[in-house]
Symmetry: none
Subunit: 213 residues, 4 copies
DNA sequence: CATGAATGAGATTTCATTCAT
DNA sequence: GATGAATGAAATCTCATTCAT
């Protein structure tokens, strides 16, 4: 997902990148269906046919964009080491760190983020499958994580899958409002993350640790 | 949004309803862009031109569907009387009731629900505005509601808009998983609603009422 | 072509007349092809189907309008008695009379006149034939008339058909400018008619009569 | 308006020309409204979409045709040098020349001429404005010309605008009969032009020059 | 006579993709 | 690799006309 136009990139890679960047702009401005390949190539300044030297087609380019986004998202939220989390305090620290990192990454990629949440599901069934698969993975991961937290006494017993689902929802909607619609902009990332964590960790019985922290 | 084909409906209303129902099927199966007006009219068994006696066009029909859905959603979640809520217990009762009602309503309208969450934002900018406007309204309402709960000592002090946003997110994702993707189906509506409420009401200090209930 | 809504007319005739009048308005405003039957019936306040009780269709109605107009035109210009014309002075008197009468009649029917000259030829081949036939008749009549004038020594020898053609052209263009486009409106009908006659009768050798008159 | 398929024309220009020529045929045969783009492309042997690489649409193509025609017409009749006309004889010479040139040009473009007079006004209001504007220009030019002739003692005093209008009418109708309907075909162009001039210059008092010539 | 809902043929136009240069 | 002209499939929508009530 990195967009830097490093001189180390080959001519081919640079052009590939340029087309993707242009596509992001156009998709963001007009939406996938209203966006025309002709607009994308015009923005980059290459011929219509050139487009097909770099992508199989409009849809495949879109899929590539979404796939990049999912990878970026997953790699950002999935880089922690659960085994090190042994106290409520460490948990909060870790979650805060992930939350702030994610905020930063998504703010750096506002337009793809917007594209993803706005219409990634309305383009092609194949793409929906990829997205669905990623969600399943994320949910499974979070569910497992919740179970671990429970075993370590960090959260109460409950439906862990449900908790994972709700958590994903909270985060998604906050992203959409904050990153895509620019509401919630008076709230600091730290504040947002704190609220998310508080409601994620609701219903815990670990009163002691809570009062101590 | 009611779909019953009551004999009280005029001939015109019945046909209007039939076309909408067929459209829901087709949009659900193929998605907005792949759906053809010809498929819709064929399913109802009327001529192509008849469609345009009832709708200005494919897009306006879609907008009508989404508008209906939003109205249904809002009217379902917005029918409570905040003034009667004076205790944690009543609050839970009310929320549970709304949650169960919403579950029922959305299960009755699975396909429109799926259409809404899958691609309502990827059709037309005008429609996006309507949707956005509805979200703003919903968020404002919930924010106010949260503020009232706080004043009555039912929740802690916090960023009420943020809480509203997260709540909407939790609910949305749970809807999508449960109603649209048929995951979480081993969870009873009651369990789901309980979890949602628990995490919505997280961070409360009202320990007393809590232990009593 | 008479438009008066006399009480002597039967209900049927009144409605027929009303539809024609409405059609004239609509055709004038939008042109034949852009005019819709629905607009015509709406203006009269009858149902769509009623239209077809009075006319075979849109095209036949148009043809009726044009046919009426041609009849009106021909009957206006063709009512003289050539045998009585035995001097240049009488000729001028007769021509003046016809000219003024025609002006009056066409001013009373501005919109049909405009419709006729603007698009009567662009509707249907059958109609073109009728129009063509009328022109042929008119030209033949005028040609004969010219020949008679020549025999009586009122005009010089020349190509009488050509003279007839030019005369029709002069008159037509003057009509279009004066009646349809409202240019030439500072010129009195009398002046217009005088000019037409002068150039129609050009090349005459009848100097004597000329100087006497 | 030139139709020659010169090898100097670019590939693009040749195809543009070919499409226009085919369109002229089709419009001539069926009329604007009955003419189908599919017929035009079929005649040229290109794909349907190709048409839209060269024209914005059927209507714009028609407008281009009419615009070409008007330009051709105006450039043919407007190329004289009024200052050189100092005698009735020179005037006749000049008018004859223009008349013969126009006849030639229009005979070379019979079908567009027919299309123009048959239905150019029945296609689109925008086009009507262009046509009207051209007529106004032509009439103003002729009116000025008449005034000059009068000042030089070549024609009598009269309503010059009216004379211009009548002249345009004579010419038009003669064109329609001769070029479009193939009547008057036993008359030589020279004869036609002579008659037109005679009636155009009617009412002159310049007897001397007349008898001399 | 009157109604007006329903019909359905079919033309225009778009644009992703191809391929000869 | 690059070009960009050409392709052509296919879907929307219109509106004169019909006909059952």
């Amino acid at each position: 997902m990195s967009k830097e136009d490093s001189p180390r990139m080959s001519r081919r890679d640079r052009r590939h990148r340029a087309l993707k960047d242009a596509a992001i702009e156009i998709f963001f401005e007009h939406g996938y269906h209203a966006a025309k390949v002709s607009q994308i190539v015009k923005r980059v300044g290459v011929a219509q046919g050139t487009f097909y030297l770099y992508f199989e087609g409009k849809q495949q380019l879109f899929a590539e964009l979404i796939s990049d986004f999912l990878e970026l998202f997953v790699s950002t939220v999935a880089e922690w080491e659960p085994e090190e989390i042994d106290s409520r305090r460490v948990l909060r620290q870790e979650l805060t760190e992930v939350g702030l990192k994610l905020t930063e990454v998504l703010l750096d990629n506002k337009k793809v983020t917007a594209i993803f949440f706005r219409e990634s599901q309305a383009v092609a069934p194949e793409l929906n499958e990829l997205i669905r698969h990623t969600y399943e993975m994320l949910l499974a991961m979070l569910t497992d994580f919740n179970r671990i937290l429970y075993k370590r006494g960090l959260i109460a017993d409950m439906n862990f899958r449900l908790l994972a689902t709700m958590t994903v929802g909270m985060v998604e909607r906050v992203i959409v409002e904050r990153i895509v619609h620019d509401t919630l902009d008076e709230a600091e990332p730290q504040e947002i993350v704190d609220h998310l964590i508080m409601h994620y960790l609701a219903g815990t019985t670990d009163i002691v640790d809570e009062t101590l922290s």
